[in-house]
Assembly symmetry: C2
Homo-oligomer: 331 residues x 2
């Protein structure tokens, strides 16, 4: 019996347990004198209300699940951090479910969240199976999906299509002709979306786009894809990378293995604007995504859903802004 209960505080303060409960309940009616006594006793014993029991009563727990695979990498790290911060500020308790790609692992995590009566779940990555959504639905658990167009849940989307089109148009306007795009084979929805939109926009203007894929959408992926692009076929003079990490890998290969110049020989545009994009070695032109803004929208959707659970699914868009740096400038 490690924790102090309200009973013990009541005994020490010489009041009933109800008085203790009321002292710690917002807006309950307690006389200042007893309130004082209770607080003193609580302080002496080191008492804290048991939020678990409170949650049992109210059928809610203030827990919010944050589901992500590889939350330490690239933009996702920043998104995870922004989200947890926003949740804490809101008074929620962020539970970070760092899960592998396996379907069963994901379902196990969800069962854990439902078991603990998590109020909502935010999904940052991965492609949850249909049963995931169904389970959440049946338990009335609000779901917010970020960066994936999932009709069965509230969602926050980056303007992937708009940005990718802008990338293509800007390349073309600057006189670049041999376009390429780098995506990844293990296609995250947003990565795939950017790749497809870029190709579509370029083709609409009458250009052919070479496509290369890394294994994952990370630095090594950029390395692999760039090697493929430059060791055979027509050498590109402008590459749109579906995220910054891919761009870093590609840039390093272009400069160091093929001794070409960025931006003179090859222009590069990335996506996300992670802090590394501003590092002197890269100085990458990229689309800025504000993690705090995305997190704020997600929390807003959560609030709204909790107030009217039966509203139709909503979708918030956050439009990324291009940031020009040395790897590609307009003129």
């Amino acid at each position: 019996m490690r924790f102090v209960s309200a009973e013990q505080v009541a005994k020490l303060a010489g009041v009933s347990r109800s008085a203790v409960s009321r002292t710690f309940t917002e807006g309950a009616s307690v006389a200042p004198a007893t309130r004082e006594k209770v607080l003193k006793a609580a302080e002496e014993l080191g008492y804290h209300v048991n939020d678990l029991a409170r949650g049992v009563l109210a059928n809610q727990s203030r827990l919010v699940g944050v589901v992500a695979t590889k939350p330490e990498i690239g933009f996702r790290a920043h998104l995870t951090a922004a989200l947890t911060k926003a949740l804490i500020r809101r008074g929620s308790i962020p539970v970070l479910i760092n899960t592998g790609e396996t379907e069963e692992e994901l379902l196990a995590a969800q069962k854990m969240l439902i078991g603990h009566r998590a109020e909502a779940t935010v999904i940052l990555s991965g492609s949850p199976p249909a049963s995931f959504f169904e389970l959440a639905q049946r338990n009335g658990q609000p779901l917010v999906v970020i960066g994936r167009s999932e009709p069965d849940a509230d969602r926050v989307l980056a303007g992937n299509a708009e940005a990718s089109r802008e990338a293509a148009d800007t390349f073309i306007a600057a006189g670049r002709r041999r376009l390429a795009v780098i995506g990844s084979r293990s296609a995250t929805p947003s990565i795939a979306e950017r790749e497809i939109a870029f190709v579509a926009a370029a083709e609409a203007s009458g250009f052919v786009v070479r496509i290369a894929h890394g294994r994952d959408s990370d630095y090594d992926g950029g390395i692999i894809a760039a090697r493929e692009l430059f060791s055979e076929g027509e050498r590109p003079d402008a590459i749109f990378c579906a995220n910054d990490l891919l761009a870093f890998g590609a840039m390093d290969v272009i400069r160091q293995e093929f001794s070409l110049s960025v931006p003179d020989d090859v222009a590069l545009i990335g996506f996300d604007d992670v802090p590394e994009a501003a590092w002197l070695s890269y100085d990458l032109t990229t689309f800025r995504q504000d993690p705090a803004a995305i997190a704020a929208r997600a929390v807003m959707l959560l609030d709204r859903r909790q107030q009217n659970p039966d509203e139709p699914r909503a979708c918030e868009r956050v439009i990324p802004q291009i940031v020009f740096r040395k790897s590609f400038s307009r003129s």
Copy 2:
């Protein structure tokens, strides 16, 4: 009443609530037939045990707090991810408290954790005030501190002193004579420890060490410190950076602003071996810290403390291994 209760399942299955409870309790005695009936009813209603209520009864919640400031940056991102993964594998529920540096913010977070009867708290960074430890102690909440020598808690320490000494000795053995170290003004304990140990080791061998500080221990910090080192005074030919991010900033300034060569003019050693250290642009010689290993030790300490709460405080050391890359090689 969004969630299904055991009562409802019992009614549907035509058994008592106890039978339902036992069905979902490990090692309880239930007849296979009733077990079957209960499972079927539970499946039909979408029932999940309320772990909150279970926790109230057992006075434990499976929640484990993970407290970190800026968990998105550098090595800490990897440590956070490794820790949450290890905790989940252990069956715990990691609550990521992403807090600012403020003392009151930290205390609020801790109150939240205690209120929810978190079983333990792992602290990754920041310098919690004494009251933090006292509060944890009084509530019998196990505390594990990583990378900080805090006698009132179990702790996992990197071999900062050993590694820093090795850095100094290796520089000297390779014929480097004008040594410098880069730390930060907002000194994290481990950053400060590395700086001090390096200086001590070099001085023991009769060398003077120039010291430069960034504002924080990140990329910008490295930039600022390197500018200071190279714009005045005797130019160093070997710099030990208290972490990799500082090294990246320093390396970029050395090469691009002062047009010097790494490693010919200046050798660099970093600390942590974050993935970026292996990127072609940096190829940084550094001390490898394995986040998974550190996380595993932390979880081990947690387990041990939970089994015998009265054991004396323990301290686990994980010794970093130097990884040689291009920024400094032995010969």
